[in-house]
Symmetry: C2
Subunit: 395 residues, 2 copies
């Protein structure tokens, strides 16, 4: 009976992150760092705006593209740190992942070639496959210290006139790698030549740690692209505003695309809930109070975890340029598996430490582990490193 399901869908890998989480969730006392989510609840001002909207009876259908006031607020927010963008280029979506899926539906026809830079959140590879695309991956490679870097020439050689779409996530989940301005400029110039659409997943742009100021965002394609460039940028309220469970994101689109994407929204989810959008409006209205402390806290978490990991001899890691993950390779030893999935399963069972296996993000990173450092209490991170250290000493 399963044969009635598409083979391409059956073949999509089940998340091995979920596998580890499922193995650990039943166990008491596991320190979980497997998901890309803070353990902090959404700020009160956001929650209250949604609660008020519900009490006010805002329980009806909304515009496919989102509340005009929210699209305007997103345009303002975007324009504050990038080239000016009008609300006519903004579409509100039912989650960041939904923004990415809509973008893929808009440009990828069956059989099209799609290039994806990996390691990456597995959804970015799965979405074009669902649409019947031929997916090619270009992998970052680790340097001696453990920082994963792009070979720009390799990427540019992979993107040809046959390439319909290039998908790149920077700051990158899981590696923390972040595109430089020069790399973005070279990619944009190349894709203009080949006629390739760029889908940039920039949901971690505010979680950037290499800027000249603590509040500086990561380099964005929106800093250099023209309104008519074939560039779609996907965003989410999840990370910068602690709103993972709200399922709200947006797309910044080329001039003239928004109505076509609006049709796709109608056919996928029709619209986002008004009360959820009211929460997002409050988040943006209070952005200057809300985001800087969240980023400052994550910066502290990142340093705390990175410093603690330095105490483990032979462990390979560098501090992430952006995002909210440490990315690491355990020291090799005769008695331990080299495979990240096997390591993660044993760490949950034997050390009550929940990490995500690197193989979830690319075959090339099967021996690596991802550690989400978004933790309300940074002491949890230090505890986790102690557990890892003890486990390594014993095994």
């Amino acid at each position: 009976m399963k044969s009635a399901l598409r083979q391409a869908i059956q073949d999509l890998p089940v998340s091995s992150i979920r596998e580890i989480a499922n193995a650990g969730m039943g166990q008491p006392g596991v320190l979980a760092f497997w998901f890309g989510e803070s353990d902090q609840t959404t700020p009160e001002v956001v929650v209250e705006a949604a609660r008020k909207s519900l009490a006010d009876g805002e329980t009806f259908y909304a515009h496919n593209l989102g509340l005009p006031a929210l699209r305007e607020a997103i345009a303002t927010y975007t324009s504050e740190r990038h080239r000016p963008v009008g609300m006519d280029r903004i579409a509100v979506t039912s989650a960041g992942v939904n923004a990415l899926m809509l973008a893929v539906q808009a440009v990828v026809s069956p059989g099209d070639e799609v290039v994806v830079v990996v390691p990456v959140w597995p959804n970015l590879v799965a979405q074009p496959r669902i649409m019947g695309a031929q997916v090619r991956t270009v992998s970052l490679r680790p340097d001696a210290a453990g920082a994963w870097r792009l070979d720009l020439n390799e990427l540019l050689s992979a993107v040809s006139a046959r390439t319909r779409l290039l998908v790149v996530n920077s700051p990158n989940n899981p590696t923390g790698w972040t595109l430089t301005r020069d790399e973005q400029a070279a990619i944009l110039a190349h894709c203009r030549q080949t006629g390739t659409v760029i889908l940039a997943d920039e949901v971690y742009e505010r979680l950037y740690y290499r800027g000249a100021t603590p509040d500086e965002a990561a380099p964005s394609f929106l800093d250099i692209a023209e309104p008519d460039d074939a560039l779609m940028v996907a965003h989410s309220f999840s990370k910068s505003f602690l709103m993972t469970g709200w399922r709200l994101g947006w797309l910044v689109l080329p001039r003239g695309w928004v109505d076509v994407v609006g049709k796709l929204i109608e056919f996928n989810t029709s619209c986002a809930s008004v009360f959820v959008q009211r929460g997002a409006l409050a988040a943006l209205a209070h952005r200057n109070e809300l985001v800087p402390p969240i980023v400052a806290h994550l910066r502290h978490c990142r340093a705390t975890l990175h410093d603690a990991l330095q105490g483990i001899e032979g462990l390979r890691t560098t501090a992430a340029d952006g995002g909210m993950y440490a990315w690491l390779q355990l020291p090799a030893a005769a008695g331990r598996p080299a495979d990240g999935r096997a390591q993660a399963l044993r760490l949950v069972a034997e050390a009550r430490l929940g990490l995500a296996p690197g193989g979830a993000f690319a075959d090339e990173s099967a021996q690596w582990l991802r550690w989400c450092f978004a933790s309300r209490d940074p002491a949890r991170l230090v505890d986790g490193v102690a557990r890892l250290k003890n486990w390594l000493a014993l095994h």
Copy 2:
């Protein structure tokens, strides 16, 4: 630049319902019956459950398939009026339309043949097109009185071993036509032979007016199918619980499919918000207080509108078997357009009456109009008919 967008997506029709609504929304005093939505807000007990969840800090990611408690409650609700279904066959989705889109993604590969019974909500035709399918439509046909009926043999001839998926919406939006048990049995038997998956959009099942009891649901494929039949049934909280703006639905799936659909949920929206699911749990917990009065009120609205329409000489309509729409053809006259879209545009401008054009649902129904009778105050329906009558007298 638009050329970078897929031609198949650009070619998807913009909703002509939206066109009429946009034309009317700027005008004061328009009586709007264009959308498929009641003007009643969501019941308080549902709203309060979501508000409490938000206050309790339930703002994190949830399971792809939905809260186990909600899946269990949906299984119980389904089993109350159909063959028993376990929660292992239930997937919670981000809207009813999202349930339909996920179902199509699960089985339709590029180039597959999909048969859709029309007239129908345009999303059901658009979704397989987005996935690169070849869509064939089989149209209901009006009898002399104006009731649209299925030619079962025509449908069965259209569904062959080449047909991957049959999409049928019953009770039907817009015509009110509802499949009989015998027709369902014949379709199921035929699709077993041809190996065709059935996607049944049964979101209006509670809004059924031909039952032996006022609370009887419409005939459902779930009454006759085996757990291993290739049948997916899409549902929504929107209609029976007045929760349109909540964007929550579900799929009842064949045995063994739920994990594969869970993967697709991960890649489309990841999950529904927990606080939205808490609202749905409250809705189901109070189903026996909430749904019967909603259905009784719609039954009254249906009769009110139908009776009023009888006062218009030459107007072609029959009382809907199910759903929440009157479906009608205006009497022909020399001075009036025969086209529903032209009629609807003029009705908004000249009579301040907002109806949906039949051409939105099928080419075959281009001369028809849809009138949503879900109205808090049934007197609005009578007012609307008076406006229509006056307009017909003048034009």
